[in-house]
């Protein structure tokens, strides 16, 4: 139950935060938010490392690969994009 409270609060907080991101940053926002959703890596680690037999381990391995791809790729590509955003040096 308390979990639903947390989920609700985080949803509201997400709305407020995202609403303030300017359109200029919407593409990095998408990839950055994407990277955050890779948090499911925590679940993958728990599954893979728990020693619940080989099925779990295989599934866990795949889950880790997918999630880490999402995390590493997401953060790196977002960083690459954001690096390019520069203010006018003259101004």
């Amino acid at each position: 139950m308390i979990n639903i409270v947390i989920f609700t609060l985080a949803t509201f907080l997400g709305f407020e935060l995202i609403h303030r991101v300017p359109p200029t940053l919407h593409t990095p926002l998408m990839s950055g938010a994407n990277a955050i959703s890779g948090i499911t890596i925590v679940g993958a680690l728990v599954v893979a490392g728990g020693g619940h037999g080989w099925i779990s381990t295989v599934i866990g391995f795949l889950a880790i690969v997918f999630a880490m791809f999402n995390v590493a790729g997401g953060y790196a590509v977002t960083d690459r994009m954001l690096e390019m955003f520069k203010r006018d040096k003259a101004a």
């Binding site: 300017p22 959703s37 728990v46």
Partner: protein
């Protein structure tokens, strides 16, 4: 094993770093730092999990992390900026797949061990399976469409939506059955996963290629919710918080795009928009003449303009003309003209698409203006230079109630003293409709690939 309080506080710290990271995305000046803080939060979450949980087989984990990270970084390094929509789709799909797998593993474990799962967790597992699977295959289809492995046209057949609705009901029914029955059954599980995977495919196939960004934003939202569900399953609040925030982010972005296109989300998802090409709208272009212009003449206009507004669109991305555009702007500025960029919220194929491309070519972000800020300035502009944009400058959105894009807010390029449009032909843009702007007496068309045309313009302006 670490003390419980330390673990919990570390997860909370990770969540706070995600929050602060998103907060800092509210300005280009702090955004990069924000993204890095968010990444730090992720690192903390991963490390603390490795330390805390009774991890027995480190080899598998290390292997998985190395493979996943290597592939991810390699993609991130090599992907072209113009291919960003595909990249996001792929990342998204993989996130969904991970949630699906985690949900599946948890299910199998509880089922095999025979431990009875609390109802809440059971529901969360089923939701993780459904949402994860739909996100996975849906994102892959979106990727294929954007990468043009599949046609951008809507692929549909009569009754498809009925089939989808049925599939959805089947998943719900099977999940409910699974939750209610005491037996350890595997077939409903496989069925739920299988049908959900198909659902993802059939939900996205009938949507046109240019609507993919909306779909991706929505799927992004789903992948967040799927992650939150796995958080419910393994009872970890950092997953719930991060997942919920991503969930709201995707919803906001898809709403924003729909608003900028003046279409409802339902229309995007089920409207099979973009199927027909060049539908003659109420008022056709017959009898009107188009004025074509030579690069030399266009260059003259630009060279002597005091104020130029560049309006980039999807064609600039196709032609990869962003670097040439910057060069042209520099030449004009060297001659004392002022250059601003007018960015329509749905120009290109994803929100902020043009901004990223222009940032790539080193255009400072304070020269990029949002629609509402720049529209009043067209009145004072000498030249509006439209580079591969079409629908976002179509006055039919203002004038023609019969037009499918009627009511969509557009850039007021026709208020400029003179308009130069760069495109390859008279073909329509994504919405598949005629554009009266091209027949406006103030408009001159410079036909040809945008990059080639602009390169010529640069040379000519230099020569003036």
């Amino acid at each position: 094993m670490m003390p419980h309080a330390v673990v919990e506080l570390s997860y909370l710290l990770a969540a706070v770093l995600f929050i602060v990271g998103l907060k800092k995305l509210n300005s280009p000046a702090t955004a990069r730092q924000g993204n890095r803080l968010s990444g730090l939060g992720m690192l903390i979450a991963i490390v603390i999990t490795l330390f805390d949980r009774q991890i027995v087989s480190y080899q598998v984990i290390v292997a998985g992390i190395v493979v996943g990270t290597a592939l991810g970084l390699w993609m991130a390094r090599t992907v072209k900026m113009t291919a960003m929509p595909q990249m996001v789709a792929l990342l998204n799909g993989f996130g969904g797949a991970a949630s699906l797998l985690v949900g599946g593993a948890e299910f199998l474990r509880s089922e095999l061990v025979g431990s009875s799962v609390p109802l809440m967790n059971g529901i969360a597992i089923q939701l993780a399976l459904l949402i994860g699977a739909v996100t996975f295959t849906g994102s892959l289809v979106a990727f294929a469409k954007l990468q043009e492995l599949l046609t951008g046209r809507p692929i549909t057949f009569p009754g498809l939506q009925v089939v989808n609705a049925l599939g959805f009901l089947v998943v719900i029914a099977l999940s409910a059955y699974q939750l209610m029955t005491a037996e350890a059954l595997l077939w409903p599980f496989y069925a739920v996963v299988g049908v959900s995977l198909l659902l993802g495919v059939f939900l996205v196939l009938p949507i046109g290629g240019a609507d993919m960004p909306v779909v991706i934003a929505l799927l992004n939202s789903y992948s967040g919710i799927a992650a939150a569900m796995t958080g419910f399953v393994i009872n970890n609040h950092v997953l719930m918080i991060a997942g919920a925030m991503v969930g709201s982010s995707g919803i906001i972005l898809s709403q924003l795009m729909c608003k900028a296109m003046n279409r409802s989300l339902t229309n995007v998802l089920f409207g099979a928009f973009g199927g027909t090409t060049a539908v003659a709208s109420g008022r056709t272009a017959e009898g009107l003449t188009v004025k074509s212009i030579a690069p030399e003449d266009a260059a003259l206009q630009l060279a002597y303009a005091r104020s130029v507004i560049v309006v980039p669109g999807y064609g600039m991305a196709v032609a990869q003309a962003q670097h040439a555009v910057r060069e042209l702007a520099e030449q004009i500025e060297k001659r004392g003209g002022e250059v601003k960029y007018a960015i329509h919220p749905v120009a290109g194929r994803m929100p902020g698409h043009m901004n990223v491309l222009l940032a790539e070519s080193n255009v400072p972000y304070d020269k990029l203006y949002d629609m509402d800020d720049i529209n009043p300035e067209f009145d004072r502009a000498d030249v509006a230079l439209v580079i591969g944009a079409n629908d976002v400058v179509n006055p039919a959105a203002r004038n023609d109630p019969a037009s499918p894009i009627y009511g969509m807010p557009i850039l007021d390029v026709d208020h400029a003293k003179s308009i130069i449009v760069l495109k390859r032909s008279m073909n329509p843009g994504f919405a598949g409709i005629e554009n009266d702007l091209f027949y406006n007496p103030k408009t001159s068309m410079l036909f040809g690939d945008a990059k080639a045309s602009i390169t010529k313009l640069v040379a000519e302006v230099k020569a003036v």
